[in-house]
């Protein structure tokens, strides 16, 4: 039988270099590569440093409390909703303040807010007494569903649905020990879900947890408090004459895979945010 089989040799051109057409330059040899789409933060210093938040990629903003992470996120949301795009915020610790967002210019009608942290029951039974024990067991299992897991599942659903301009996953109040336990496969899955889409995924945390899946990593750090004192009572009590005017933060780019911004190490800029009651 072996003699009946005929093996056709591979065409010789398969082993040669790819066919080149005269006048057409391969993309790999282009002097100027196409610029990836980004969402500007509307803060000139940050935009100059980062080029904006890349669409189709994962951006991580991390830092301790009062370091300006949420202010940066609200600026991003305000920009994206102003473009009539739809955004989603997965709030792992139910910390989002709509008043702050409205003051920052976020169009709340275009922002889907997913508040995690409360468990709900889910039973496959329409209920029958003989199955009640099983239903309760299942419910007990669901009770253990942590808010982080809820947030990850919610973010996954939103990314799979598509069509969002920006999806933010807020793990800002989640202890870093918990956030770091999120398996790397989840971040790979998220990165894969947003690839080749117009969606930007932004993750906020206390420590860097996204690791190599992030296209852009920003670290924020508290710098100073801006105060305003009335001239009459400068430097003196009572304290109600002093007004919290805002705060200054440092934004540091730890990693950037945006083509025009080669991976840099520790490029820093200052971010000044004002309180909503300051005109």
């Amino acid at each position: 039988m072996a003699s009946a089989l005929r093996v056709f040799p591979s065409p010789a051109r398969d082993r040669r270099a790819p066919l080149e057409i005269e006048g057409v330059i391969p993309a790999s040899r282009l002097g100027v590569r196409p610029q990836p789409e980004t969402i500007p933060t509307s803060i000139p210093q940050v935009d100059k440093l980062t080029g904006g938040v890349p669409r189709g990629g994962l951006t991580e903003i991390f830092g301790p409390a009062s370091s300006g992470r949420t202010s940066l996120l609200l600026a991003l949301l305000a920009q994206t909703t102003a473009r009539e795009e739809v955004c989603a915020l997965v709030d792992a610790s139910d910390a989002f303040d709509p008043h702050s967002a409205a003051a920052a210019g976020v169009d709340l009608k275009r922002l889907l807010w997913v508040r995690c942290g409360r468990k709900v029951s889910s039973s496959p039974f329409l209920v029958s007494r003989k199955n009640r024990a099983s239903a309760e067991e299942r419910e007990a299992r669901n009770e253990k569903l942590a808010s982080v897991e809820q947030a990850l599942r919610a973010a996954d659903l939103l990314l799979q649905a598509g069509g969002f301009g920006l999806v933010a996953l807020d793990l800002g109040d989640i202890p870093s020990a918990v956030a770091c336990r999120v398996p790397l496969t989840s971040w790979f899955r998220f990165r894969r879900a947003v690839e080749n889409t117009a969606t930007a995924l932004v993750v906020i945390g206390q420590e860097a947890s996204v690791k190599s899946c992030a296209s852009l990593v920003l670290r924020t750090k508290h710098s100073a408090i801006s105060t305003q004192q009335s001239a009459r009572a400068a430097g003196a009590k009572p304290t109600h004459t002093r007004l919290l005017h805002g705060m200054q933060s440092e934004v540091e780019v730890l990693n950037s895979r945006i083509l025009q911004h080669k991976p840099v190490r520790s490029a820093t800029t200052l971010l000044e945010s004002r309180a909503s009651w300051v005109g």
């Binding site: 610029q35 789409e37 980004t38 500007p40 509307s42 904006g52 301790p64 409390a65 009062s66 370091s67 300006g68 996120l73 609200l74 305000a78 920009q79 102003a82 473009r83 009539e84 795009e85 139910d94 910390a95 709509p98 008043h99 702050s100 967002a101 920052a104 210019g105 709340l108 922002l111 889907l112 807010w113 997913v114 942290g117 409360r118 709900v120 029951s121 889910s122 039973s123 039974f125 329409l126 209920v127 029958s128 599942r153 659903l157 799979q160 649905a161 069509g163 750090k221 508290h222 408090i225 105060t227 009572p238 109600h240 919290l244 805002g246 705060m247 945010s273 004002r274 309180a275 909503s276």
Partner: protein, 568 residues
Amino acid sequence: MPFAAIYVPDFLVAAVVRQEPLLRGKAVAVLEGTPPVVTVAAMNAAAAEAGIELDMTKLQASAYPVELRQRAPQQETAAHAALLDCAQAFSPRVEVTAANTVVLDLAGLELLFGPPAKLAQDLKQRASELGLEANVAVASNPDAAIHAARGFAGITLIPPGKQAECLGPLPVDVLQVTPEILETLDRWGVRNLCALAALPEVAIAERLGQEGLRLQKLARGAVERPLVPAEPPLEFEETMELEHAVALLEPLAFLLGRLLEQLCARLGARALATNELRLTLILDTAQIEDSPQSHEDTENRVIGRSGHRVIDSGVIDSMTRSPDGSITRFVRLPLPMLDSRLFLKLLQLELRAHPPGAPVVKVTLAAEPVKPRPGQGGLFLPATPAPDQLELTLARLAGIVGEQKIGAAEVLDTHRPDAFQMKRFAPSVAPASGRLSRGHPALARVGETNTRETPTRTAAETAAIHRPTMALRRFRPPLAATVVVCEGEPVRIAADKIQGEVASVFGPWRNSGDWWKGKAPRNDADSHGLSWARDEWDIAVPTKQGITLCRIYFDLASGAWFVEGTYD
């Protein structure tokens, strides 16, 4: 002027088979009556061949290899409605001759649907899609079409002027004559329409009167009468009664899927869609137990007088259980849709979130008919989630975090701290005028930089945008704190997440309101709906990573300190 008649043979059986497609091709008999007197009311040809006869008792019928089903009037109503939908899909002039027979006026339809032969084929195909195996006949008058459809299986086309020839072989009982006349004709040896048509008119008139003449005209296919069009109400409802109560979601979903397919086919036949589904479940009253309402998050809900729970978005969520043990659920959609798989998923998620609490014995599914979504999205408008996909995603998210925990926040017009309400998330559709939105990527591509500053923005706007607003991250509920006060100012704080010496203090600012609504109980930070009065402070507390800037307040009603949130 041609007419088409659609006739469903063995209608009672067809109504049952429509609900249970697995019975198609099998011998089926339909039983009627209340025990112990239950007899065969109808059967199909296969059952008749197997030996089943009318008025046979259930016990006798069960001895034959046939499927026995109880007669369900609601199924017959739904089957008749489906038959009407089938006809209405082609012509608005439809006469309801009987529950199993409808006649269409085909005048002017040739340009739309092609010649009568093709139209008849399409009618049969559409009826089959709606779960009904029908006979279709086309003739130049309604009665000839009706008799041909009743007498000949499949599709029959009667050319104009050939009615008598074509109808001739049919038996006389096709005309639905009275038993007395039928007996008389039988005695005369008249057994088909050809023989009846050949009788002399005067002799028939002498012996059978005007009725005899009418029957002869019908047999010749020569009765010309105007069609009496009916305008049936647009009701789309499907019902399924279950022999055995269903206690699991999976088999119920299977049944719901079948009902939804039928509903969607009927809506599609009328070129309609739906924006509201109403699911009514009749429960096994013997096993009704306390509804698992306790599972639900009742936050931000108000119990209405009628028992309807009104969510703060204004959508009525009626999980009402009537005294007869039925439960009704509504699935409301933001836009008209017609996707049975999407509807099934939404109903599954709805039932999973709100289990009825007892096995189900009867399912009724109704759809509110509306016109389909018109128009299309603009080419240069930003991409938004597809409405059907978004609805499904929202339902799935509600299954994860709870129904009241997703949506769009709406800031309330009050000075009460953290006053907002969750609204149903339905981003407005941008006008499809082709106008590019401000800052749209398509505009930015024209520019060289990628930051996409829109040239139309004013200097004041730009200045305002360039200064981001300091955000507050709230603790819900606020954290109880122990605060050491010295000379009227907080100097040290100890709370769950924040503790240490206070480095900077701003305040206090008194905030109060709704004093007429009564005071909140002591040691309760959540004073929703009641009066509030508090002194707010902004403090900076040094930590290992730097400084935490937070807002604390002293609640005047409870005399306790709380941390409201941190600035970030």
